[in-house]
Symmetry: C2
Subunit: 114 residues, 2 copies
Amino acid sequence: MTIDKSFLTGNTTMLILRLLDEKDMYGYQMIEELRKKSNNVFELKAGTLYPLLHTLEKKNMVTSYEDIADNAKVRKYYSITKNGHNCLNEKREEWKTYIAAINEVLGGASFATD
Amino acid sequence: MTIDKSFLTGNTTMLILRLLDEKDMYGYQMIEELRKKSNNVFELKAGTLYPLLHTLEKKNMVTSYEDIADNAKVRKYYSITKNGHNCLNEKREEWKTYIAAINEVLGGASFATD
DNA sequence: CAATTATATATAGATAATCTATATATGTCA
DNA sequence: TGACATATATAGATTATCTATATATAATTG
């Protein structure tokens, strides 16, 4: 089954902030993590992610710094800010409300988790 | 709480087909139904819906006919086709897969903190 | 060893699904 | 009578994706 890519719209920021809420990561790593955690459902494109990270940095949701990864190579790491953490919590609440509404229309059971 | 409108992207077609899968409706009625069923979460705009209905008709997902509503006024009713019904079932499956993937990422072993 | 593929970051331009604004017409209510 | 709700419609703006392209290094493969 191929997932309608437009489902993703609006969730990318929430997902990225969620990853960074666990640990600092660099861009390419986020793409791989999302792919793995979602069982290949999310295949976020580099051309989507890097501009988004720059925007999140401008909005003070994340900060970046250069550091050396396990393989001794320099990578651009991102770290979530207090502001970004608060935004994540808001987005999670919105997401819960949203899927409850969808399920209300679809007439099915709720798939929401806390 | 204001819901991020971009969450809706990609779901509108599924929701409209779901409404029509229960009974024939006219455009304005769909907007009202979605608003009510979702407890005001969905406030679909006329400028979004009417062009979408025209597209769905071109794609043979729905058919339309003029009929007289309860209040004796002529309204443009839409009816789901077999094709539209099949599309709805596919979208529902995609939706399930998609939210399972989101919850996989969101649920990753942590609790929301402030 | 050369060619290809994977890793890694970045930007420009295209695409698609919404939105707002506007138009038109009728009906209702204060 | 003037504003607001119902009802349908289109044009143009906005926004979040995408693809294509660029660059550089590392790893793999023929």
